[in-house]
């Protein structure tokens, strides 16, 4: 493997402890809630925070290891970094911003500017070469930042929300370009993102960081199938419950029991897709084994569909059509009956 890091960083009250391996050519997406430590991780890998403990090794070369008193300065790490807030140099034009990296690595002025123009062109920014960053729109600035990081020909790519400010069209095309570039990119790459679509399109593996710790990792399919925290479940649009299994019975913390179709024992997670939760205005008959009466907490409208957040005893979301919402007369606080088939509850060990 090519990037091997065990990052322990302390920032005031915040502690980050993340172990991470990324192979050459592999792309790992880091996801997590705001303030989880994603940016801190990127900064530590780039050498902008020094480790309290652990190590960062790139291609077998130790970049940071406090126990061995090794610390390689950021400028010698060959990390291409895209910062969450771009950090473009206000006194340089877009072209000079992109040429800065190559120039710093000893490329001749003419070559560096040639390379910069090529990258700007690739990013669809040829027309802005002579502008200062204060003349750029948010999305343009982000693309310049991306071009600037890529133009150095880095050994390791660290992208902190590289597409957050892009418009939908640019996003798809930059995502695709980035994907192609990452395919061609020989080194390891870490992408921080909030968008599971980006993660799906770009990354081979996902790393979920919450509150300074890795709470889950694996391929998109693995993570989607078996979320282990509320954040991941929400990210994937799933309901996550935690409880104890006794055979095909699932007992939640508040004592409510659900019927499942999986034989299990001990502490488990249970996952229910919102569209598998049916809502009724009166007690339904029929096959579903789990039926209960509850109240509506919130309703989130999503175009022609709506997400209905249910209250106690089983706090989950149901996804129904907008028509159903009006037919059932749903509003916040309204009473409603919910049901889930036993076969639609997936159960796995906690």
């Amino acid at each position: 493997m090519s990037l091997d890091a065990e990052v322990s960083v302390t920032l005031g009250p915040f502690e980050l402890n993340v172990a991470l391996r990324v192979d050459d050519g592999e792309v790992v997406a880091v996801l997590g809630p705001n303030g989880g430590g994603k940016t801190t991780l990127v900064r530590a890998l780039a050498g902008l925070h020094s480790l309290r403990a652990g190590h960062v090794t790139l291609d077998g070369v130790v970049l940071d290891d406090p126990s061995a008193r090794i610390f390689v300065a950021p400028e010698h790490r060959q990390c291409g970094v895209v910062f969450q807030d771009y950090c473009l140099f206000a006194h340089l034009t877009t072209e000079e911003n992109v040429a800065f990296g190559p120039r710093s690595r000893g490329v001749s002025k003419a070559d560096a500017h040639h390379r910069a123009l090529e990258w700007l062109d690739t990013m669809g920014l040829a027309g802005t070469a002579h502008l200062r960053p204060d003349r750029l729109s948010g999305g343009q600035a982000q693309r310049v930042a991306l071009a600037r990081a890529l133009a150095t020909g880095p050994r390791l790519l660290l992208l902190d929300e590289p597409m957050a400010a892009l418009d939908a069209g640019a996003r798809a095309s930059v995502r695709h370009q980035l994907g192609r570039h990452l395919e061609g990119f020989a080194g390891p790459c870490v992408v921080v993102t909030h968008d599971p679509l980006d993660a799906a399109a770009l990354a081979d593996r996902l790393l979920i960081v919450e509150d300074g710790h890795v709470v889950q990792s694996g391929t998109l399919a693995e993570v989607t199938a078996r979320p282990r925290t509320a954040y991941v479940a929400e990210l994937m649009g799933l309901n996550l419950l935690r409880g104890r299994a006794r055979g095909t019975h699932l007992v939640l913390a508040n004592g409510t029991t659900l019927q499942t179709s999986v034989d299990a024992n001990g502490d488990v997670f249970a996952v229910i897709a919102p569209r598998d939760v049916a809502l009724y205005s009166s007690p339904p008959g029929g096959s579903p084994r789990n039926t209960w009466s509850t109240r509506v907490d919130e309703i989130h409208r999503l175009g022609t569909r709506a997400r209905v957040l249910l209250g106690a005893p089983v706090p989950i979301a149901a996804e129904v059509t907008s028509e159903a919402v009006s037919d059932l007369g749903l509003g916040e606080g309204a009473p409603v009956w919910a049901s889930v088939k036993a076969t639609q509850i997936d159960v796995y060990g906690a």
């Binding site: 400028e75 140099f89 206000a90 710093s104």
Partner: protein, 264 residues
């Protein structure tokens, strides 16, 4: 275009009063000039020698202050070390010292019998008093603190994230400093240099005490003005105006040019 509003009247009034306060005395000087003898006064060998020496010494002062003061300002702004505020205060004190006492202090340090001056003379035969180098030294002693303080203050307002971004792009510390930090503080760098230069140009007490008042060697323009004041006030005023005119030209033109040069 972003909206450009007119400044509030009260502010304009205060600003105008301030300009008037600073400008009226200069007008008074202009009114005193005897224009008929002006050319002769200014082109006398004493005057031209003094003006030339003033420019040379003050420019050297700026160069030395930049070369030595900027690193000190950087260390003061960026690194926490025990005694930092003491060092910062130390760097400020020469500004406070009455210049003549500053000159005495310099004599005690760098005169031929001074703490460092004696070994310097005994070992290397270097004598700073009564030399142009001594005049530069006196001006630097008095004026460099202005650069240090201004630049340090500016460095504190620079957002470190831009420097970090530059580092990840492969720029070493020197390159980061030159290509990111300096351009960012360019206005303050120019301002600090202007202050230093101006202070050096007007320096009198420390120079006359430490370096002496020797025509062509250490007699800078303020010293020549002092000598002229002893005899002929007209000449003194003419010389002062020459100093002002030169400063005006240099300050106005340098500013634009310098700001441009650093940014490109």
């Amino acid at each position: 275009m972003s909206i450009q509003r007119r400044p509030p009247l009260a502010v304009v009034a205060i600003a105008t009063a301030t300009v008037a306060f600073l400008a009226v005395p200069l007008v008074g000087l202009l009114a005193k000039v005897s224009w008929s003898s002006l050319w002769g006064d200014l082109t006398s060998p004493v005057a031209t020698a003094a003006l030339g020496l003033s420019l040379v010494c003050s420019l050297w002062t700026v160069v030395i202050s930049l070369a030595f003061g900027v690193p000190l300002a950087w260390v003061l702004a960026r690194f926490d070390f025990p005694g930092r505020s003491l060092v910062r205060a130390l760097a400020t004190l020469p500004m406070v010292l009455p210049p003549v006492v500053g000159g005495v202090a310099l004599l005690l340090a760098f005169g031929r019998n001074g703490i460092l001056g004696r070994p310097l003379f005994d070992v290397f035969g270097v004598q700073l008093t009564f030399s142009t180098a001594g005049a530069v030294m006196a001006e630097t002693f008095v004026a460099m603190p202005f650069l240090i303080i201004t630049v340090e203050a500016a460095l504190r307002t620079v957002d470190p994230r831009f420097e970090e971004a530059a580092a990840t792009l492969g720029a070493g510390r020197w390159k980061v400093f030159r290509r990111v930090t300096l351009p960012t503080i360019a206005p303050s760098l120019v301002a600090g240099s202007a202050l230093t230069w101006a202070r050096a140009l007007g320096e009198f007490g420390a120079t006359v005490t430490f370096a002496g008042n020797i025509q062509g060697r250490t007699q800078t323009l303020p010293l020549a003005v002092y000598v002229a004041l002893e005899g002929n006030e007209q000449v003194a005023i003419a010389l002062s105006l020459a100093l002002l005119a030169v400063s005006l030209v240099i300050l106005v033109s340098l500013r634009g040019w310098w700001l441009g040069a650093i940014r490109s």
